[in-house]
């Protein structure tokens, strides 16, 4: 079973006369363990597609299966459940400012009802250590650098060892050195877990980690082996 299967998906913003189509006849399969980069100009619909896959928007037509779950006409409760199984990494770190790095990671682990509070704390510590923040667990996000915050956000996204990771411009706000570090960490953890990753980016410096690069323009997909 492929983690992502998309068949004839169209998507419109707005309603009726004001409706504007942003995605045209999208067909896409991503296999387990693949690292796929989705790139293309601003406004081409990349992020919209990502949010559809992640269950953050309602699918309007066609068929979209994420982790084996059909999202067309899925209920809100089903979407909430699905979101818990996906790791999200955002352009901004979006850490809760009133929680320490450790607590932010715990928030993600707490969604897993099977874990005891003891396991949650120890797994959060392990996760922070894995992203190189083992000694920063008690720091509030305000006291971390941009790269450290993004690494904490990765620790939060990957803490539950999700089978699918969706990342939107994870390096856009970072300098090239911390951007590289973040990508390397992501790459290592994803390979260890045998997870699948779909990464939206403009950042030409990180394309080398991809198994496959998909190009999107004006709401349509085009596959390429290389990026010009």
């Amino acid at each position: 079973m492929n983690p992502i299967t998309i068949c004839q998906v169209n998507y419109y913003f707005g309603k009726k006369a004001l409706a504007k189509q942003v995605l045209f006849d999208i067909n896409l399969d991503i296999e387990a363990g693949e690292i796929v980069i989705l790139t293309g100009p601003s406004g081409s619909g990349k992020t919209t597609l990502l949010t559809l896959i992640g269950g953050l928007r309602a699918v309007q037509s066609g068929s979209l299966c994420t982790l084996g779950k059909e999202l067309f006409q899925a209920s809100e409760a089903e979407l909430v459940k699905l979101r818990g199984q996906i790791g999200y990494i955002f352009q901004a770190h979006n850490l809760l400012p009133f929680m320490t790095a450790q607590q932010n990671v715990q928030m993600s682990l707490e969604l897993n009802q099977d874990l005891s509070s003891h396991q949650i704390v120890s797994q959060a510590q392990e996760m922070l250590a894995a992203v190189g923040l083992g000694d920063k667990g008690n720091y509030y996000p305000d006291h971390l650098s941009g790269g450290q915050k993004q690494r904490a956000a990765i620790a939060r996204a990957l803490a539950n060892q999700p089978k699918l990771i969706l990342a939107d411009e994870p390096t856009a706000a970072l300098d090239s050195k911390s951007g590289r570090e973040v990508v390397n960490i992501m790459y290592r953890l994803v390979k260890e877990n045998h997870s699948t990753i779909l990464l939206v980016t403009h950042d030409g410096r990180i394309l080398d980690i991809a198994d496959r690069i998909i190009y999107m323009e004006d709401g349509r997909l085009a596959q390429r082996k290389t990026f010009l």
Binding site: T51, V80, Y88, F90, N94, P97, M107, D168
Partner: protein, 384 residues
């Protein structure tokens, strides 16, 4: 869930100043509400302490009387007519009026004081100090002084306890204080003196035969309600008849409805409630709107909308209960202080403490319900 992170509390705790502002808003509202209710209850209780002390079952007032400060006299014959009924054990004429009291210390200071006169033959009042001193009022120009009167009347109680007598003037007549009793202040009277019917008529220069309140004591077993209806039917329209409870309600109702006092107190309570709710709403709203992106992120990683709503309501409850406790403590302190300053019987009751706790929680929940609408804007699709 108990061992899970307490998101609502962590957020409140992180912004300490803002949290303190929210708390102080609640504390302020709680104190004002307590204070208003305490004072108004004390005033309304104080207004009827006289009535409650009266040992009678039914009372006759002139139809033109509206409250203790506005008693019209009526013919004592009405009371004699009532006495003819077989259910009646005895009747007692009561005189009530305002006299001019001369402060025995600063000799030139004159104050209005409530003066009560009654027939000494019957046990008319159940107030502390009356029973033991009643016989001393047989003498001419003697009074009992209310030791809970305000200090403007002079340190009469202290002087009496020291010398066993105080001489002063009431309405230009030389009188002697022969004892102390306890009644307390009310809306209208800052102090009181009690005397016999004969002394009352002498001091006030009123003619005999016209009284202010007619007290009727019924024989055991007689129903005051039935007797009242019967008497009202029998007597002419120039008097009104009450049971004891009706007499009390009559007085309180006057102060609550015919005077701006009751309305003012209620308005203040409502205003403080609104101020408290608005402050809490502001804080909750800011907490949500400033962190919309982060809350949307929580939704994106799998938290339900309900979880986010719960955060807001938990914060409302935390602010409400943590603000109530110091509010209650300060209110108890203020009650003590106000009681000493005004001599009104202001006291905290369990009933009031619980009522205000419930009101505070409701106030915070209203704020929460208003603020939680903002959480709808936490749309995870918008944060990418």
């Amino acid at each position: 869930m108990s061992d899970r992170l307490f998101t609502a509390w962590l957020q409140l705790k992180y912004q300490k100043i803002r949290f303190l502002i929210a708390l102080s808003g609640v504390i302020f509202a709680v104190i004002i509400i307590f204070f208003q209710l305490g004072i108004s209850n004390a005033l309304f209780d104080g207004a009827v302490r006289f009535h409650q002390g009266l040992q009678g079952d039914c009372f006759i007032l002139s139809s033109r009387s509206t409250n203790l400060t506005d008693l019209a006299s009526f013919s004592q014959r009405r009371l004699s007519q009532a006495q003819a009924f077989e259910e009646v054990e005895y009747v007692n004429p009561i005189y009530f009026g305002v006299a001019r009291w001369k402060n025995p210390e600063s000799r030139n200071s004159w104050q209005s004081i409530g003066m009560i006169g009654f027939d000494l033959r019957h046990q008319t009042f159940d107030l502390p100090g009356i029973k033991s001193n009643i016989n001393r009022l047989q003498a001419r120009d003697t009074v009992l002084f209310d030791r809970n009167s305000r200090t403007e009347f002079g340190a009469v109680a202290e002087q009496f306890e020291r010398d066993n007598s105080v001489i002063t003037e009431v309405s230009n007549r030389r009188i002697k204080v022969v004892g102390l009793f306890e009644l307390g202040t009310s809306f209208a009277f800052d102090g009181n003196i009690l005397t016999s019917d004969l002394n009352f008529l002498r001091i006030s220069n009123r003619e005999k035969g016209f009284i202010d309140i007619g007290l009727i004591k019924l024989k055991t077993g007689a129903d005051p309600e039935n007797f009242k209806l019967k008497l009202q039917e029998y007597l002419p329209q120039d008097v009104q008849v009450f049971t004891k409870q009706e007499f009390i309600n009559f007085e309180q109702n006057y102060w609550q409805t015919s005077q701006p006092i009751g309305f003012t107190f209620n308005l203040n309570v409502v205003m403080s409630f609104i101020v408290g709710a608005v402050v809490v709403y502001q804080i909750l709203y800011t907490n949500v709107s400033e962190h919309l992106k982060e809350f949307a992120t929580l939704k994106a990683i799998g938290y339900s909308h309900q979880y986010l709503l719960n955060i807001v309501f938990q914060q409302a409850l935390i602010i409400g209960s943590l603000g109530y406790i110091p509010g209650l403590a300060i209110a108890i302190f203020i009650y003590k202080f106000a009681q000493q300053a005004t001599l009104l019987p202001i006291a905290m009751t369990w009933q009031r403490a619980i009522n205000i706790l419930v009101a505070t929680i409701i106030m915070c929940l209203i704020a929460g319900v208003s603020a939680v609408k903002k959480m709808k804007s936490a749309n995870p699709a918008d944060i990418f």
